[in-house]
Symmetry: C2
């Protein structure tokens, strides 16, 4: 029985997919990584990580939460060596890669080094900082920190936190206290099993007066015995949707005393006498927020590329249905137009996110340097703050829409792999459940979108007042002209310049709509806050459209910086960018039609072009995802392997993870008694003769009754006869 299917068919198929791509794969990869140096560094780290037994990933899907946590703790030791010996840039790159295959570990490590140490760095006086250095905070010797911000009843609203730190003048101490259940510190990463100290956000209270939320370092456990210190109650938050490698916990403080010196006092100081000295200006916290968001946009881009590498390679080698009865082989599913439509736009989007993330990293570095270079009274102060504000608003929108889109991409990529996408061993399950939290932490995505929309309204009002806006919202500068634009032709519609103009026009319309609704609400007498609330939906829409256009612009700028050449990179990336821009236009087509920029027949043209580009990009889709340069170790997915040998690898993984020949865990206990239970015969209650007995009882009773009746009759007659006698 000759069959066309054979074990190595998939290998042959993926080899063919790699023949003669229209671009130099290495050059395309370099373009997406920023430079050859960056790519080489990434490759060096991927090799080191893949060979490090601590980062073995073959068995993680079957570990219990407790096993996973222990495994995760083991990795920390290995990385502390790197953090002490590597430049910060290199270490950041290494962590970026680790976060891509072990997000739980990334979080656990980041809680100490990013959040706890970060809180001390930004909040401690120099003397306080060296105190904690001496205690071992940088090397984790004798201490390990966690970050005590959120409470059971308070997440987003930091100012509303209810934990108190009350100054006791007599002892020169703060008393840290959890006043009610809702104030229990909740979700605290590292609290359950790792931390000795916590940077606690609490309401500073002095002589009955609240002075707002400040940060206090509170010892939790004896570092030698790990016993909880007096007044500290810590428990485990337990099972989560994902990231089970991090030991989130809850903490309740009951009159816990810490020295006054454990309040971080770089900004606000409390004197021995209980006098509070507030900083002359509120600290600029934009920097820290920006760093987190930049990391998350980068992670969104990388994770989307990871999911799509798997889905595209699988779709290239997976065959299903013959195109005609006499075809030798079944059709590769990537050859189905609908499958191209499912995956190619997402690939284009991931590339767009990648360039956006690079750009955001650059912006973050620039603004950080600008901030550091600022001197008091600097003439650049205002300009720098303006730049920072814009970057801040833009990054809020980017964090929200990129993490949403990537979560969606992971699930769509999973579904594109059919049933095998549902197996844990192919990686999508944990990718989704680990990534999902990105939409909630570091600012809930909806809240961040509204922040971005609020900034856009402010920018619109500034532009109306004649102020010249910075680059990100420069389309609002000549708004009347921008608003009135129309797409001139089908030819222009499918060019980078044409699409850019379209996005500017549509964003201008959306922002104006939000701005006008806001103004109308103010006119109705609402306060600014009320007006912002009441126009939430249009604000949200403005942020959404603005952000799509912003991402497209980053992609276009990055592409246009690449020289046209024999390597074909510029030409191919242009196509990918056009696909991204037009597909997003199609997704948000109502705004384009509504704005008047696009006509109905132009939309038809754009849609046909998207379909055509999906086909074109598909032709070299495998080399394109190869250029994402994600190692098999990081993919950790048999069906996404580079060499295409998917079925043998998948089968081997399943067998290794589920060894045969073990005794059946509950056959004797449950299955056998169930399957061999005796049939309960329907009992024949007739044999009991119950109804006959009832009949007998009834007859007896009736007989007795008749007898009694007869006796009574007899008695009556006797009495009657006696009466007659007496009457005679």
């Amino acid at each position: 029985m000759a069959s066309s299917w054979h074990d190595t068919l998939t290998i042959e198929t993926i080899e063919k997919e790699r023949a003669n791509p229209p671009f130099d794969v290495r050059a395309l990869s370099i373009a997406q990584h920023g430079s050859e140096k960056e790519l080489l560094l990434k490759e060096r780290f991927m090799l080191e990580i893949a060979r490090d037994p601590v980062f073995y990933m073959g068995d993680v899907h079957d570990l219990t939460k407790d096993e996973l946590r222990e495994r995760t703790m083991q990795k920390i030791g290995s990385l502390v060596h790197c953090v002490q010996n590597e430049s910060i840039e290199n270490f950041t790159k290494r962590m970026e890669l680790i976060g891509l295959f072990d997000p739980g570990f990334w979080t656990r490590f980041g809680v100490h080094y990013g959040l706890f140490l970060g809180a001390i760095r930004s909040g401690a006086t120099p003397g306080q900082f060296s105190y904690w250095m001496d205690k071992g905070v940088v090397t984790c010797q004798g201490m390990f920190g966690c970050f005590g911000m959120t409470e059971l009843a308070h997440g987003s609203n930091v100012a509303g936190l209810e934990t108190t730190a009350t100054f006791d003048e007599q002892t020169d101490e703060f008393v840290v206290h959890t006043p009610n259940l809702g104030a229990t510190k909740w979700w605290i990463g590292g609290a359950a099993q790792t931390a000795t100290h916590c940077s606690v956000f609490a309401q500073l209270v002095i002589r009955g007066k609240k002075h707002g939320t400040k940060t206090f370092i509170v010892p939790l456990r004896d570092p030698m015995t790990f016993a909880l210190l007096p007044g500290v109650n810590i428990g485990d938050i337990g099972k989560k949707m994902g990231r089970d490698g991090i030991d989130n916990g809850y903490i309740q403080f009951t009159n816990v005393r810490i020295p006054r010196a454990y309040m971080l006092m770089k900004h606000t100081q409390v004197t021995r006498e209980g006098e509070v000295r507030e900083p002359p200006i509120q600290q600029l916290t934009y920097g820290a927020l920006l760093q987190g968001r930049t990391a998350m946009v980068t992670d969104a881009a990388n994770t989307a590329k990871k999911a799509l590498t798997i889905a595209v390679r699988y779709a290239a080698v997976r065959r299903q249905f013959k195109s005609s009865p006499d075809a030798e082989l079944e059709t590769q599913i990537l050859d189905y137009p609908i499958h191209q439509r499912r995956l190619m736009p997402l690939v284009a989007q991931a590339v767009a996110f990648g360039f956006t993330a690079l750009q955001l990293q650059r912006l973050f570095e620039e603004t950080s340097s600008a901030l550091e270079a600022l001197e008091p009274g600097d003439p650049n102060l205002n300009a720098t703050i303006e730049l920072l504000k814009e970057t801040h608003a833009t990054s809020a929108g980017l964090k929200a829409f990129c993490t949403w889109a990537t979560l969606d991409t992971i699930e769509k990529a999973r579904q594109a792999c059919g049933g095998h996408g549902y197996s844990s061993y192919n990686g999508f399950a944990s990718m989704f459940t680990d990534f999902a939290v990105h939409c909630s932490w570091e600012g809930d995505n909806s809240v961040l979108s509204l922040q971005s929309g609020r900034a856009l309204i402010a920018a619109y009002r500034d532009a109306m007042d004649g102020k010249k806006l910075a680059e990100g919202t420069s389309y609002l500068n000549n708004i009347e002209q921008v608003l009135s634009r129309k797409c001139r032709s089908n030819e222009e519609l499918v060019t980078l310049a044409g699409i850019e103009e379209g996005w500017a026009t549509v964003a201008a319309h959306a922002v104006r709509k939000a701005g006008e609704d806001f103004a109308a609400l103010l006119k109705q007498g609402k306060s600014r806050d009320e007006a912002f609330e009441a126009c939430s939906q249009v604000r949200f829409v403005a942020a959404s459209v603005h952000t799509s256009g912003f991402i497209f612009r980053q992609f276009k700028k990055a592409v246009e910086k690449i020289e046209k050449g024999a390597d074909g990179v510029r030409e191919h990336l242009e196509k990918v960018a056009v696909l991204y821009g037009l597909w997003q236009l199609e997704e948000k087509a109502a705004f384009f039609l509504r704005s008047g920029w696009l006509s109905g027949s132009q939309l038809d043209h754009a849609q046909a072009k998207v379909t055509a580009l999906c086909y074109e990009i598909r032709l070299s889709a495998v080399p394109l995802v190869d250029s994402f340069a994600i190692s098999d170790h990081i993919l950790n997915s048999p069906i996404g392997r580079y060499d295409g040998d998917i079925y043998r690898a998948y089968f081997a993984q399943v067998r290794k993870s589920n060894p045969q020949g073990k005794e059946h865990p509950y056959f004797e206990r449950i299955i056998k008694p169930f399957m061999h239970r005796p049939t309960q015969e329907l009992e024949d209650f007739d044999e009991m003769g119950l109804d006959d007995e009832i009949q007998e009882i009834k007859e007896e009773q009736e007989e007795a009754a008749e007898e009694a009746k007869a006796a009574e009759e007899e008695k009556k007659q006797q009495l009657a006869e006696e009466a007659k006698k007496n009457a005679k």
Copy 2:
């Protein structure tokens, strides 16, 4: 320190939410359940299940896969009693509820009773059926079945399966064989730990000739010892994204012999001589497909209602940020317009799905009865088949778009609960991972959408040929008139009739576009199959728009059947239906604008109306989700509790699931050695004096070289002198 927050605040808040709803909650609940009888039955079953210790759900989040599987097997015994003693209608209702909180068990039970027994019912001759009855198939005594369809390399394409069943005339047996790795039976639910028999889909081969895919009952294990039978190799598929209660496995057959009588021969027969008798007409398999899809649309509606019950109740009692500094309490998050926009349209959609599911159930029952009533040569044959075909196409689209939308709803509801949505104990994590497989099995959603689109193109062509279409696509009957319609006014736009007309017009445009593209492709000389492939995207769009309109129509019809009365049900459901219709219009607004039915300013009006309706529906959102009538046991989510006592319940659940006071599992082993490792002093290699030594070695070598050179010079001179001497 007086705080406005207190432990029972949430209880008081939710009580206020229930005061004075504009409808009778019970009456609204009855309307959504089809009848009071249905609702009472559901309540009876929910009570029985909640009290049954077998269905205790408090600890499921922390069970390992192996523990969960054992627990799941225990439930089967309890349910077999019901399946034997309950009417099929009642049992179906009971399973519907069980599927809502334990989908893994639902699957494990369904594999035997739905798939395996179903295969025998539909494929066995009467004699074969009684044989398997006697073997114990109905009571699971001595046997338990699994369903061997999909293979490692073949899922969707059943005709392409590669397992063979070769007839051996000599022994009157079939030899069942797995010819290659790709033909390994894969994902077979129940195979890993439960099944004794499998209904194997295999290519019938007789004398070297293939006769297509047929079904064979193959014994797998000795029911007394559970030892694998000769030639049968079974392994565990292991960890999945969700539904870990079902033991999926793989099976490889190596020349396994079964009697000829184990091929199910109701349709195709193989005689003793190896003669194949094919049925005169292909069997109608629509019925079985319809049943699966109906169940999945029902599950989609119920699951969406479950997720939204939790998210709405939580949003009602969760408070965050004060609307003004002197507000006594923080604002309920459900009072934020953006939160209303996030949840209320999804609530409306869930209600719409509920009515659609009821309608589909009715349709399924009607078509089943019609099919059963058919006699050979019946004059109703063609009409019945037409009805069946349309229902089949409609149900394909409904299965796809409803399961997609519900998966999306679960994740959106989870995100609406912020961080606490990420805790496993609040239920969203498993709800998502369990539900996700609905998008792939029983027909991949993309493939089903295209089937629906294909049927729409066929209907369009029929309509063009003057054929009168049945109700589902009746808008194509007067297509020219439908196409040219325009929305007449803002007032009409927000009525049920107006919205219905809009959907009909837009669907007509989408279907015509698909039909015309298809016709153009045929004209270009493509085959029908090629043309269908090439117009996949427009087909998909047609199916999407048609299905949205179809669902809206079911909702509208259901609402209009309800009498207007003092209970306020009709009025409120009308609002919910308008919200659903307009929100979907907004989501797909590009089609409405493109069709010409809707103008730009009408779209603005619709969007404003959606926002206004979100606010209106929010006012009684808690009573509305109460009317979904889902018990706390089924919700299994502390933050979604009926009584609003969410924080105490959540805290209690977390503590119970993660008892304190256990010894730290790896403090001594890992944390202590790490945290108290000695600091490695930077060694001072200068003390080693290496560079001095190198200098010395160098000097010695140079000295030696000089000496050697001098010696050589000397030698040369000596030689020169000697030569001179000799020359003299």
